[in-house]
Each structure stands twice: as structure tokens, then as C-alpha cells.
Amino acid sequence: MIELQGICKTFRVAKRKSGFRRAVKALVSREIETVHALSDVSFTVKDGEMIGYIGPNGAGKSTTIKIMCGILTPDSGNCVIDGRTPWKERTAHVRHIGVVFGQRSQLWWDVPVCDSFDLIRDIYRVEETAYRQTLEELTELLNLAEILKTPTRSLSLGQRMRCEIAASLLHRPNMLFLDEPTIGLDAVSKIAVRQFIKRLNKEQGTTVILTTHDMQDIEALTERILLIGKGRILLDGSLDELRRRASVQKTLVVEYSGAPPALSAGMTLAESREGRMVITLNPAVCPASEAIARIAAQTDIVDVSVSGISAEEMVAALYQEYEI
């Protein structure tokens, strides 16, 4: 159970201007700017939930994660995770969480992966039999058998990410924070990572909080989405809810043989080629079924497909709507 209430965090940043003269001036007097990284952030996550935490760069995602991991102390507000305040009871708290930062490694660079794992076992004081069992499971699920003896620096990014995830789960945390776990991965590795996370959440009931810019991650994994922008939580709901909210437009692609059909109210032509039309629909005026029926009456339809907007477009629309 994660409860955040009214979390605020500001950073004081010294403003630097470019140019030698200003740099010299900055030695004497500096302009200090206060950046509100988080203002009044509150949300609750139940055990076993999987949350997608999204927002543009610099919105405050990482700051929130760092507060939940006990790295940063907020200026005000409360955060209670499984009955503990992260920054007050750091060691007790971190024993129960796993964290993966996609852009940073937690493995020791020059030694084989299994040596890193052994050291992590000792750091967390994991009991030997439990460790063996966990490692065996993870090795099988993440397909690590062949790379355990390889030094981290020789691994490909996809291999390394699988090892990172395994490393963060060796102590069997009941909560997992993933900060951009699929960044830079190829399609196969991405799918492997996603499948594993999904399975972990379903079978072990691990609470997962995922920040990402990859909307396919969100579509594949999470039921609930938190949208943050400029340090505030803007939306909290399911992907479908957001989609309904973001836009009601649908896209209709028709392939036909014969005369091009005429469009009626609620249909806008987006693209047209010989035998193919892309039409943007406003379902309030003209539902998809009706649109298809009308077109079918005028021409022979070879193929037809209807799609809502992609998650990517939806999020872009949301960012625009909130001007973040």
C-alpha cells in the first residue's frame, strides 16, 4: 500500500548564463531560482496494482520515484509505504522494494553478472536456499543461463536490462519501481521484459510502478495511469477513460473497388488514393457502423478497418490540452 499526501518538493538552482563575462559575474553574485518539482502530489496505490506513471520530461516523475525510494526528503507532505516513511526508515523500507533505473546500472561493471548477484545477496542478507531458488526462477523466466558468467560490460543492452531486473528482485521485494525499463531496447527484448513484468504482477502479486515514455509499455501493462505535469497530478484513471476523454475521433480506412463513395456529415477525408480512403469520423454525428453502411451502399468494399487514436497520439493530445 502506497499513500502519498500533499507531497511538495522544491529545488534551488543557481542560474547560469552562457558567456565568459557572465560566468565571471556569477562568481560574485548568483541568481538563485526556485524550481517547484512537485506541488501537492497525492495518490494511493493498492497492493498488487500496476500503475503507469507518465508525463513529459521534467514533469516530476523521477522526483516522485526518488521520494518513494527514500532518496529524497520532500519539503512537506506525507508518504507512507507499507506503514513506513521512506526517508525516515530508509534501511527497513528499501529491504522491501526493488528499483530499476533504465539508464543506470546497479551491476558491477567488470565482474561476471553472477558475482554481482552474489554481492547483492550479501547486501540484503538473503538466506542461501531462498536465494538459490529465486535465482533459479529468474534465470529461467528471464533466460539468463548463458549470460550469468559474462562481465556486465560485455552484455548487450537487452541482456543487461534482463539482468538489472533480476538483480532488483533477488531479495523478493513486494514492490517494484521501474524507471524507463524498456528505453533503448529492441522489439524482442521489449516484449520479453513486458511479458516478465506482467507475469510477476499476476503471479506474485508484486505492486509495480512504471514510468515510461513508451506508450506501448503502458498499453501492454497497466490498467491505471497517473499523468503528471509541471509537478501536479493531472489525471488518474484507466487507459480507456483517458482515451475517451482525450478525443472521441476514430479513423476509418476503407479499401474499395468501383466508384469512390461520397462522404456525408461527420466524415472528413484525411487521405485518398485510387481504391483506398482514410476517413476521420466523429462518432457523435456518424457512428462507425452507420458510416460503413453508407459507404457499402455506394461502392464495393474490399477491406475496412476502424481504429481509435493510438496511445501515443492520445498522450500527445493530453499534453497539449494541459499545456505541459
Partner: protein
């Protein structure tokens, strides 16, 4: 402690991955030690007393400071590169581990080539002990041990403060070197020769003199009070302000990047 050894073994295995680099570094450290010993030899040829201290007596003081500094540096080397540990995000990771932070920082970087300086300090000590003409009774041996051990702790505290300042700013750290490297360099001579004000500062604020100057007086028989023998223990009080400062810095930690 067991975990520290595990970290140690990881570091050994890591540096063995780069055999040539390791060999060259050790060789380089040896050369540095060697030139320092040469400098010592020249110094001995030129001067015979400093502010009323005979050279062998000065040497004892110097080798104590150097040994203490080298021990502190070998163990607490990581604090020296603490700005790097912070900026590459390693410190974030440490905060996510259920272990003490100071322990993790100490275990994060071990520089075996630094042992070179330790060897040099030990060699100097080995020379100065018989050359000083001091009769080594058990109480004097104890005094010497206290000087070295407490000295290492005080230098360690200075490194800790150095690291804690990094939480607030990464600029202007150089002034701390006056106390760390400077402490080592000025420690060549009994601190009293720098004047009364400096001695006061080094007694009450940064207690370098507590493990060098005062017990040295006892060692060479200028003072006979047992009080002087145990002054190095008083310097251990420096641990509290140093640790307090570290805690304050920690609360101010800002982390870096995304």
C-alpha cells in the same frame, strides 16, 4: 566486516581485469614513494634541529602523521571521489540498499595502488623509531599506537566532512585540502612551530595537534604527565561534529539527473 571483504574481492577481481593498468599504477606509486624518501634524505642532510626539536624527533611526528593519513586515505579513499559518486548516480543506488551509507561509500572504491604511500610511511616509521633515541617502554609504545590510530580517525573525519560539503555545493571544495593534504604536509613539523594561534586552532577546532604535537612531547620526554599520553583519545570527539555535518548534508541531498 564480512561484507566489506566481499566488496574487497569484487574490487580485486575488477582491477585484475586490467592487468597492465594495475601493474603500471603500482609501479607509479612506488616511484612516488621513492622520491618522497629521497626528499627526506636531503632534508636530513641539511637541517639538524627545527624549533628546538632534534631531527629524529621531528621524524617521529612526521611519520605518525603520514602513517595516519595513509591509513585514512587507503580506507576512506572513496570520500575523495565523492563528487563523482554523487554525479554518476551511484549514491542513489547506495541509498536503495539496506546498509549503512558510510559503509557503502567506503566499500565503493578501493584503491590498492594507494598502499604505496602506506608502505612509504611504514618505512619511515621503521627508520624513525630506533633513530629517535627514545627508550620504548610499554607506555610509549601505547602512546605511539594511539597517535597513529586516532590520527587516522581524525583524517577520516576530515574526509567525511569533505564529502558532506559535496551535498551543498561541488564548488570551492579545494579549501578542505588545506586541512587534509595540508594537515599531512604541515605535519612534517611539530605544530607548535606555526605559532600559538595555529596551535590553538589545531587543538580546539580541528584536533590535529592532539594526536601529533602533545603526545610527541610525551614521547620525547619533554612532558611527563600521563595526561599528554591520552590526548589522542580526546581527538576522537571530532567524530561527532563530523558525523552531524554528514547527517545534515544528507537531508539536503538533491540527487542528479532523471
Amino acid at each position: 566486516m564480512k561484507l566489506y571483504l566481499k566488496y574487497l574481492s569484487i574490487h580485486v577481481r575488477s582491477s585484475m581485469q586490467y592487468k597492465v593498468s594495475f601493474a603500471l599504477l603500482t609501479l607509479g606509486q612506488f616511484m612516488v614513494s621513492f622520491t618522497a624518501l629521497l626528499g627526506l634524505w636531503f632534508m636530513m642532510n641539511r637541517f639538524h634541529t627545527v624549533a628546538g626539536f632534534a631531527l629524529p624527533e621531528v621524524l617521529i611526528g612526521f611519520s605518525v602523521v603520514l602513517t595516519a593519513f595513509s591509513i585514512a586515505e587507503t580506507v576512506a579513499r572513496a570520500f575523495d571521489v565523492f563528487p563523482v559518486i554523487i554525479s554518476n548516480g551511484e549514491f542513489d543506488r547506495m541509498m536503495m540498499r539496506p546498509r549503512g551509507l558510510i559503509f557503502q561509500v567506503l566499500a565503493a572504491k578501493m584503491e590498492f595502488s594507494r598502499m604505496g604511500r602506506l608502505v612509504q610511511a611504514a618505512a619511515m616509521l621503521a627508520y624513525a623509531i630506533p633513530a629517535s633515541g627514545i627508550v620504548w617502554t610499554p607506555d610509549k609504545i601505547l602512546t605511539l599506537v594511539l597517535m597513529i590510530v586516532c590520527g587516522a580517525v581524525v583524517f577520516g573525519c576530515l574526509f567525511l566532512i569533505y564529502a558532506a560539503i559535496t551535498f551543498f555545493t561541488i564548488e570551492g571544495l579545494e579549501f578542505m585540502n588545506v586541512l587534509t593534504d595540508g594537515g599531512r604536509e604541515f605535519g612534517r613539523y611539530p605544530f607548535a612551530i606555526y605559532g600559538r594561534e595555529v596551535l590553538k586552532f589545531l587543538t580546539y577546532v580541528v584536533p590535529l595537534a592532539l594526536f601529533q604535537y602533545y603526545p610527541l612531547l610525551y614521547l620525547i620526554g619533554r612532558e611527563t604527565g600521563k595526561f599528554y599520553m591520552f590526548l589522542p583519545l580526546v581527538s576522537l570527539l571530532f567524530v561527532f561534529p563530523a558525523y552531524g555535518f554528514w547527517r545534515i548534508g544528507l537531508r539536503n541531498y538533491k540527487s542528479t539527473g532523471s
